[in-house]
Structures are given as structure tokens and as C-alpha cells.
């Protein structure tokens, strides 16, 4: 099992590194910050062009377990002194994200880059900066790993 997941991750990492070195291929606004091992990767994400998040930069933490890619990775925004999660109706203040592709709609045909792009477009299409309903309750009781949360996905699917 672990052989498989590292095989996939190595390929994805290679691909990302090739893309990042080539401005023509790079997904604008998404940058790999750190991938020292095949367990946890960090990306920076910003929405280029006009959006509610103009000039804001966010950090995304992606954690893999040996069941990747058959199970989704755990993905959340980093919350630290330096970076804050976006204020968004699907993003809790602890960095957890409610997005169906990270849960029920995850498919092994998706990739880490596909997740980053989905999250970037979730921000780009946001109409109003507001916290999710029940943010405080959720943050108080939330498990450390967002994958342990059973989110109920709301209407405007992402």
C-alpha cells in the first residue's frame, strides 16, 4: 500500500516541480512552498485578478496517509502568526474547509494540484466574506484532522 501512495505522490511532485519551473505551465497564484517528504506538503494560494481576496496570500497544508490516492488527503488552511485562513463561508477559523471533493466526492482521478485549483476558484467566486454558520461551535469541538469531520455540504458545491 505505502509503495503505491509514494509512487503516485512522487509522480505528482515531479509534475508540480516541472510546472513550477515553467511560467507557461504554472497554475497562476499557486505555488509549492514545501514538500520535504511524502506526508505533508504546503502550498501558497492567492487569487489573481479581481476578487474579494485581492492581495491576500494563504497557505494550504496537505497531509497524506497511505491510502492516498484512494482516500482524499487532509487539506486545510494554515493558521499561524504569519498567515491566516481566508474569511469564507466554507472555511472555518481553524483552517478547516468544507468542500465536497475533500470528502464524499473525492476521486482518485483528482490530484493535489486539482485540489489547489478547486480551492482557488472557490475563493475567486466568493460573493461575500463571511464565516461559516456555526463556526465557533465547530472550532471548539473540531478534531485536529478535518477528515474526521462529517461535513454537510451546502448548496453551491465546490
Amino acid at each position: 500500500m505505502s509503495v503505491v501512495y509514494s509512487r503516485r505522490l512522487k509522480k505528482e511532485l515531479q509534475e508540480i516541480q516541472i510546472e513550477q519551473a515553467d511560467p507557461a505551465k504554472r497554475a497562476a497564484g499557486i505555488q509549492l512552498l514545501q514538500a520535504e517528504d511524502l506526508k505533508t506538503w504546503y502550498f501558497s494560494i492567492e487569487v489573481l485578478g479581481e476578487s474579494l481576496y485581492k492581495n491576500e496570500v494563504f497557505h494550504l497544508m496537505v497531509r497524506f496517509d497511505p491510502e492516498y490516492p484512494f482516500k482524499s488527503p487532509a487539506v486545510q488552511f494554515v493558521v499561524s502568526d504569519k498567515v491566516k485562513p481566508p474569511v469564507h463561508p466554507h472555511v472555518y477559523t481553524n483552517g478547516h474547509i468544507c468542500a465536497s471533493i475533500l470528502g464524499d466526492d473525492w476521486s482518485p482521478t483528482l490530484s493535489v494540484m486539482a485540489i489547489c485549483i478547486t480551492i482557488q476558484s472557490m475563493l475567486a467566486s466568493c460573493k461575500k466574506k463571511e464565516l461559516p454558520e456555526g463556526n465557533d461551535d465547530y472550532v471548539r469541538t473540531a478534531p485536529d484532522n478535518p477528515k474526521k469531520t462529517r461535513f454537510v455540504y451546502h448548496g453551491d458545491s465546490v
Binding site: 500500500m1 509522480k11 484512494f70 466526492d105 476521486s107 482521478t109 469541538t141 473540531a142 478534531p143 462529517r150
Partner: protein, 288 residues
């Protein structure tokens, strides 16, 4: 008394997961050895509601179908059964080299359509390598182990019993199915129904939520799409326990280039697919 409302999200998740895990007995192998249909029959015996199922099983045996190869009932059973039957059949062809070359070129020709369906290269590559190496291994000795031996049916089964290898094969089949539907939207769009809540779905929505996600069962649309894409005849015996006289409906999907080509046969019981076989035990390894 358990009050669900008082549970934290983590506890709810746990509860949910336990229910799920218990509903799918994970002790079953992802793919089992061939067994006589009498084993399946025995499971229905002694239950008065199962008379018509038993009659249907007897009907199949009378038609020459004596064996069943079970695929785990985890929602991936159709895709896993079909690719198993697809690869395993090559072992019994007259000209294995030709059959290997034909099936590799069929699968290879699908790769551009996977790219057009916007699957990413690393994903396509890693999924394609699994069936390609298995099929090639039927005639070419495996380079890695360096034993000079070609693949045996026992080894094929072993690979299918490896959870992650089996998953790759399923993902590959799901990608092909999805790409085919996406490429021929007009032929499928009237038939894309949400499997749980009913109601029509768009092509992209259907492919993303019903075809590409693991554990989602295949229905008529997916069976049609995959059999057209990989150009095979598929014949499914429907055991629904409805026909009191025990007759079994066969549904055929004939998309092989040669119409007369023997179909890959599956057996369907509500919610589940297995492989139906004319043999009742594993064939002995036969060197050619």
C-alpha cells in the same frame, strides 16, 4: 440512550464510519477464487423466500454456467469483475500473443481520450501501467523479478487481491467509462439519473459524482459506456428472484469488433456483480 445531537462531529464521523465498515464485510477478498455455483445455491437454501433465486441458479447451471468468481461488494465490483474477466480471458485464447497485442493497442488508443477528458498525465500513467503490465506479463516474462516466467492465472488473482492494485484497475476502468460518456454526451445525457435521489444529472456532474468516485455502483449507462470503449461483448445474467419459473434474463451489450466474439459474462444480484463462468474450479496452469 444515545443522543445523536449531543455528539461532536468527530464522534459522529466515528459512528458513521463504524456503521459503514460493518455493512461491508472487509474480510471478503477483493476478488475470490472460482467456486461452483452450488456454493451460491447453498446460501439460498432453507430460506422460503429464496425459491425463485434457487430456481434461477439451477437455470444457469442448466445453461452450462457452473462457476462464480466473487468480487467484494464494495460498489466497485462491476468494474473489478469486468477488468478481471477481460484480462483472464486472454489466457484461454488460441494465440495469446495476438490477444495481448490487440488488447494493449485497444487500451493504448484510449489514453488520448482520457487526456481530453482532462485527467492528468501522472494519474493516467500510473493507472494504465497496472493493466498494461499484467496483460503484457501473460506473454512476456516479468523484467523485475527476472525469473523468466510469464504471468499465471494464480498470480493474476493475487494481484487482484492486493487492495491497492485492485483499486488502480478499478480507477482505470472508471476513467475510461467517464471519458467515454464525456465524449459522447448526446448518446447518454437522457439517461443520467442520480442513483440515490433520482432526478436528471448533467454529463459532467454524473461523471464526477457517480462514475469517478470509488464505491459508486455501475448501472446500465456505465456498462454500455465501458463495453463500447474497450470494445467487448458483455453479457449479464440478472438474478432478481422475480421470475417464478426460474428463467434468467440475460442483458447483452455487444460492442466487440467481431460480433461473434464470446462475451464477458457477469452475474447480477440486486446491488452486486460477480463473474459468471462455465468452469467451476480454477483452471490448471497450462504452459503453451
Amino acid at each position: 440512550m444515545l443522543d445523536i445531537a449531543s455528539l461532536t462531529p468527530a464522534q459522529l464521523y466515528e459512528l458513521n464510519q463504524n456503521l459503514l465498515d460493518n455493512s461491508i464485510p472487509s474480510t471478503n477478498p477483493t476478488m475470490a477464487e472460482l467456486a461452483p455455483l452450488s456454493v451460491l445455491r447453498a446460501e439460498y437454501e432453507g430460506n422460503s423466500n429464496s425459491d425463485s433465486f434457487i430456481k434461477q441458479i439451477d437455470y444457469l447451471v442448466a445453461q452450462g454456467y457452473e462457476g462464480i468468481r466473487r468480487s467484494r461488494g464494495d460498489g466497485d465490483c462491476f468494474y473489478r469483475s469486468l477488468i478481471y474477466a477481460y484480462i483472464e480471458r486472454i489466457f484461454s485464447t488460441q494465440d495469446r500473443h495476438l490477444a495481448v497485442a490487440t488488447s494493449i493497442s485497444t487500451l493504448e488508443a484510449l489514453l488520448p481520450t482520457l487526456r481530453e477528458a482532462s485527467f492528468e498525465d501522472p494519474v493516467i500513467d500510473e493507472c494504465y501501467e497496472v493493466p498494461r503490465d499484467l496483460i503484457r506479463g501473460i506473454v512476456e516474462p516479468e523484467p523485475v523479478s527476472n525469473t523468466g516466467q510469464t504471468l499465471t492465472t494464480a498470480q493474476l488473482l493475487e494481484v487482484f487481491q492486493d487492495e491497492s492494485m485492485s483499486n488502480y484497475l478499478v480507477v482505470f476502468m472508471r476513467m475510461i467509462t467517464s471519458a467515454h460518456i464525456r465524449q459522447n454526451p448526446t448518446e447518454y445525457e437522457d439517461f443520467l439519473i442520480h442513483p440515490e435521489v433520482g432526478g436528471k444529472m448533467g454529463v459532467q456532474e454524473f461523471c464526477e459524482a457517480v462514475v469517478e468516485v470509488m464505491g459508486k455502483e455501475a448501472d446500465h449507462v456505465q456498462v454500455t459506456a465501458i463495453s463500447r470503449a474497450i470494445k467487448v461483448n458483455v453479457k449479464i445474467a440478472y438474478l432478481d428472484g422475480r421470475n417464478k419459473d426460474g428463467r434468467v434474463e440475460f442483458v447483452t451489450f455487444n460492442h466487440a469488433i467481431d460480433e461473434e466474439e464470446a462475451p464477458l459474462t457477469l452475474i447480477y444480484r440486486p446491488g452486486h456483480y460477480d463473474i459468471l463462468d462455465k468452469r467451476s474450479i480454477e483452471p490448471l496452469p497450462l504452459d503453451i
